[in-house]
Each structure stands twice: as C-alpha cells, then as structure tokens.
C-alpha cells in the first residue's frame, strides 16, 4: 500500500469536494422547487396543466440523465435564439449546464414522489380541515403538505442519495468535481484502483451523512407513530 500516494490523492480529490457539493445542493434546491411546481400542475385537476406535468415527468424519467446533460451542454448553443440571448453567458458555463440538467431531471422523479405523498393523505383529515373553514393554500400549507411530506420522506431520501451520485456525470461536461478530478489523476498516473477507491470513499461518506440527516428528520417528524411515553401504551 502506497499511503503517501493515497493521501495525496485524497487531498486532491477533497479539493474538488466543494464543486460536488455545490452541484448537489443547487440541483436539489432548484429541482425541489421545480418539483413542487410540477406536482401542483399534476394534481391541479386542470387537464392542460396535468397533461404538461405528465409529459414532463415522462420525458425526464424516461431518458438517460447523461443524454439530457449532453443535450443541454452541447445542444442549446445550436439555437440562435439562445446563443444570442441574455441567457447565453450563463448557459455556456459547464457548471450551469450541469446544475440545470440535474435539477430538471430530479424534478421529474421528485414530482412523482411528492404526488405519492399527497395521495397518501387521508381524505378524512382533509375533510376535517375543510369543516373548520380551511381551503386553498392554507389547507395545503397546514394539513396536506405536512402529511404528504412525511409520507414522501423515505422515497425522497433515496432520490437525494441518487442525486449525490449523479453529480459524477457532470465530469463529462467538463465540470471538475470529485469524479472528474479522479479521472484526470488517473490519466496522469495510470493508478485506476487507488484513485477510484478514494473517490468512492468520499461518496460513501457523503451519502452516509445525508442518510443520517434524513433519518434524523424522519424520526423527528414521526413522533405521532411512536408510543406516547414508556409504559403508557404497548
């Protein structure tokens, strides 16, 4: 074991960690917001909106993320409308392209996860809310969303972990995140095994932390499913 090489590799890879974390957090943030919008359209009951949401979900779940990323990175520039628009200075940045395609893709999956959560909200509890005079956004904010989110959480944490791993694809559109830097190291040293093991370890630690955080969140949101106090109830 060449510990000197392993530790220098680790240091190099960890320098790329901020890029991975930025990719991850921005795509979860924007993807989550977009997912809320898509979910709202999907359950709106308005045929045009729910049709659009269905199509969106189908396209982004049904095609490979890598191809979506290539289409955004290489494809958008071919359209004059985009190339000569105010957006171009942003859209020609690899980082922006990567975040955009990650967010667009996760929004499709997340929208379906959120929809599943909404479907699991008991109709009786919604009816009780209506009977005290709640409707519209107040009903969503106070009753539907909190219950739906609790139901969606286990599936959503899986999606978040998948997204962490999907950030590796950004290396293929020249974003120098952990996997990209690892490949560059390999092409310089030809020591595939050690470098990729270091990279895998970084992802494992990140996902371990994410899953711990999600478990903690789930635990704190499920007090109503645990016994009231020891001894009071079996």
């Amino acid at each position: 074991m060449d510990f000197a090489f392993l530790s220098s590799t680790m240091v190099t890879l960890i320098r790329a960690l901020p890029t991975t974390l930025v990719l991850f957090s921005l795509s979860i943030l924007f993807g989550g917001m977009l997912a809320l919008l898509i979910t709202a359209m999907r359950v709106s009951g308005i045929r045009l909106l729910s049709g659009f949401a269905r199509a969106y979900i189908f396209v982004f779940r049904g095609s490979p993320l890598l191809i979506q990323m290539f289409l955004v990175f290489y494809g958008l520039g071919q359209f004059g409308v985009i190339r000569y628009s105010f957006l171009w200075p942003f859209l020609r940045e690899p980082m922006v392209c990567a975040v955009l395609s990650l967010a667009l893709c996760t929004a499709g999956y997340t929208a379906e996860i959120f929809r599943g959560g909404i479907r699991a909200v008991p109709a009786k509890e919604i009816e009780a809310a209506r009977s005290v005079g709640m409707s519209g956004l107040l009903l969503v904010r106070r009753i539907i969303a909190p219950i739906a989110f609790r139901h969606a959480l286990p599936a959503y944490s899986t999606e978040i972990v998948l997204m962490m791993k999907s950030t590796a694809l950004a290396s293929l559109v020249t974003v120098w995140e952990v996997t990209g830097v690892a490949q560059r190291l390999i092409s310089q040293t030809y020591r595939t095994m050690e470098v990729f093991l270091c990279a895998a370890l970084i992802y494992l630690v990140l996902n371990f932390l994410i899953l711990q955080a999600m478990n903690l969140l789930e635990y704190s949101l499920s007090r109503h499913r645990r016994p009231f106090a020891p001894g009071l109830r079996a």
């Binding site: 509890e125 009780a128 005290v132 005079g133 219950i147 109503h224 009231f228 109830r233």
Partner: protein, 258 residues
C-alpha cells in the same frame, strides 16, 4: 339568544347522478335546540348533515346559518357555491364532529384544538392555547394534550374532536354518528360530553342511532326515511303515542330505550 333561528334549511335536495338521496328537506333549529336525526342507513341523514356545511354540494334548496344564506349557483353542469370565501366562513361557524373522529394525525391533541382558531380565525396563539386547555379539561382529556391521536382510545379521540370543534366557538354543532365507530364501553363518555353541551345551551344537530340520547337529551326528534322527513316532534310524542307507523317499526329494531 333563545328563540333566534340558528339554522334554517329549506327544501334541500341532493342527487348523486340519477339517484335522489334528499328529496326536499326543511327544518329550523332555534338557539339551544338539540335535534336528533334518526333513520335507517341509506335514509339520507348523513348526507343531509354534510349538505349543511357543504361537504356535499346540495343540488337544490336553501341553507341559512344564523341569518346568512349560503349563496349557490345552479347551472346545467350542476350546482356549486357562489363564493368559496363564504363557504369557508360558514364552515368556521359550524362545528362538525365525524363518525371517524378525523383528527389530524401529525399534530398533538392540543395542536389539533388550536389549529382552527389560530390559522382560520387568526386569533392570538397564547389565548387559543389557554382556551384549548380549558376545553380539553372540560371533555376530560387535559392530561392527553401533548399526546398524538394514535395514542388515544376512540372515545378520547372523539372527545378531542369535540373540543376541536368547540374551539371555533361554533353557532351550531353538527354531529355525524359520533358514537357509531366506538366500542360499546366507550360510547358513554362521549354521550356524557354531548349531554353537558346540550345542557349549556349549545345548538346541536345530531345524526345518531343512540335512542336514549334522542329520547332523553334532545328536545326534538326528526325521523328520516328515503330522503324525506317522515315525521318529527318532541321526543315524548315521537316515542309515545304520536309515533308514525314507520318510526314505530324503526325503533322496534332497537328494543325499548330507557
């Protein structure tokens, strides 16, 4: 004020597709009235109750709550309320107690009780908590205020649901078979709370199968059959010589109430 009309229903109709469930129901409740609505299952009594606070949309007729008529639009594609805001407002004035309690499972009992006053009526939270604790003490579950609904027995959940409705300071309380989902030994604790409410002068409309409640607590009994009011009157008359043949046959199934 006694004598004021709290609830008035005029010729209420409701159809599900071609099936007419309510065929023109008219009824008034004065302040302090406790009206038991009896009837076999399928007679339309729950639908009637649910039409009053628009959990079901009536197909025709009028509902007045405390002198305010719920405005409806009747079009070719069916009926709908003219104003969602008015519906929300009317609902906030009508307490509803469900057969299945329908407490919000992710909130503690106290949170359930203050939810409406704080977020619908926009009242100060501290005030609402103080009132909620009083209400929970009144229905006998003050010690459960930080428990979640799943931690309570059915009878306790129903009493919590009654407290939740009362927290809105409703003008009329609607009870939709409040004891039908309860084990027999838990029925009494809920009926005691309802009786105490009745004695305080709460205006109540109670769909029930509890003959003893209808007979001893309510001041009026309404018997529904096939979407119409078959007969109604004071419990002494209804359960006495004045009973209609259909009602006599109906209560025959329950044995002799005490």
């Amino acid at each position: 004020m006694p004598g004021e009309t709290r609830l008035s229903v005029r010729n209420l109709r409701k159809s599900f597709g071609t099936h007419e469930v309510l065929k023109g129901i008219s009824m008034d409740a004065q302040d302090g009235d406790v009206i038991s609505v009896l009837g076999a299952s399928g007679s339309g009594k729950s639908t009637f109750l649910r039409c009053i606070n628009l959990l079901e949309t009536p197909s025709g007729g009028e509902v007045w709550v405390d002198g305010e008529q719920i405005r409806m639009l009747h079009g070719r594609s069916g009926s709908r309320p003219a104003s969602r805001a008015q519906v929300d407002h009317i609902r906030s004035e009508l307490g509803m107690v469900f057969q299945g309690f329908n407490l919000w499972s992710h909130m503690t009992i106290l949170q359930n009780v203050i939810e409406g006053p704080v977020h619908v009526l926009k009242r100060p939270k501290a005030e609402c908590i103080a009132e909620a604790e009083e209400l929970l003490a009144k229905v006998g579950i003050a010690d459960k205020r930080h428990a979640y609904p799943a931690h309570l027995s059915g009878g306790q959940q129903q009493r919590a649901a009654i407290a939740r409705s009362l927290a809105m300071k409703p003008k009329v309380m609607l009870f939709d078979e409040p004891t039908s989902a309860l084990d027999p030994e838990l029925v009494g604790e809920v009926l005691r709370v309802m009786r105490a409410l009745a004695e305080e002068g709460m205006t109540m409309l109670v769909v029930t199968h509890e003959m003893s409640f209808a007979r001893n607590v309510s001041n009026r009994v309404v018997f529904m059959r096939d979407g119409i009011i078959d007969s109604s009157g004071a419990p002494e008359d209804m359960f006495g010589a004045g009973a209609s043949p259909a009602f006599r046959q109906f209560i025959g199934h329950f044995g002799n109430p005490q």
